[in-house]
Point group: C2
Chain length 103, copies 2
């Protein structure tokens, strides 16, 4: 997997993306992001009891799996699902996961 900040989804296989989803904490984060839309990182893991470094690790996995995009505005980091890009590369996948993310 590339360590570029935001990999091109064309270069990722389904298994790479699935690995990003294969963790309870990250699924919870995905669900939160699906609800909130783009938001500050801290809001995404606020109710998960993750340490900062652990949350940072999970954000990196999500980013390297092509699932989220991070942007810096002012001094805040924002994070958002790459909804459209994922829908184009893997149609229906994100929706199905988000719909079941509470299971």
């Amino acid at each position: 997997m590339s360590d570029r900040p935001h990999p091109d989804l064309a270069g990722l296989g389904l298994a790479d993306v699935m690995r990003g989803f294969a963790d309870p904490s990250r699924l919870h984060m995905v669900r939160t992001m699906a609800t909130l839309g783009e938001c500050e990182c801290s809001r995404v893991y606020a109710d998960l009891g993750l340490s900062k470094s652990n949350a940072s690790h999970h954000f990196r996995v999500l980013r390297e799996s092509g699932i989220v995009r991070r942007t810096q505005r002012g001094n805040q980091q924002y994070v958002a699902l790459r909804r459209e890009e994922l829908a184009e590369r893997f149609p229906g996948l994100l929706d199905a996961i988000v719909a079941n993310a509470d299971a």
Copy 2:
């Protein structure tokens, strides 16, 4: 994760199932099973170059993740996706994955 032969899907979270899908070999196997329906195990990994023990390992992961069901008829082992059960527990998930399993 339970080590029972075929876990009840109600007892599995989405992350557990996702881990079953988070491997290229297993995704390939899932795709093959989606195409063939119930069939002999060997047909599922024939074109993957997996050793027998490695294939057996992947079948076990798929089984413990609730993705496949194995049955013995005669002296042959058969394997099939648990389509209906998965569709009931995680609506739309398997279809979305199978549709993208070649990516």
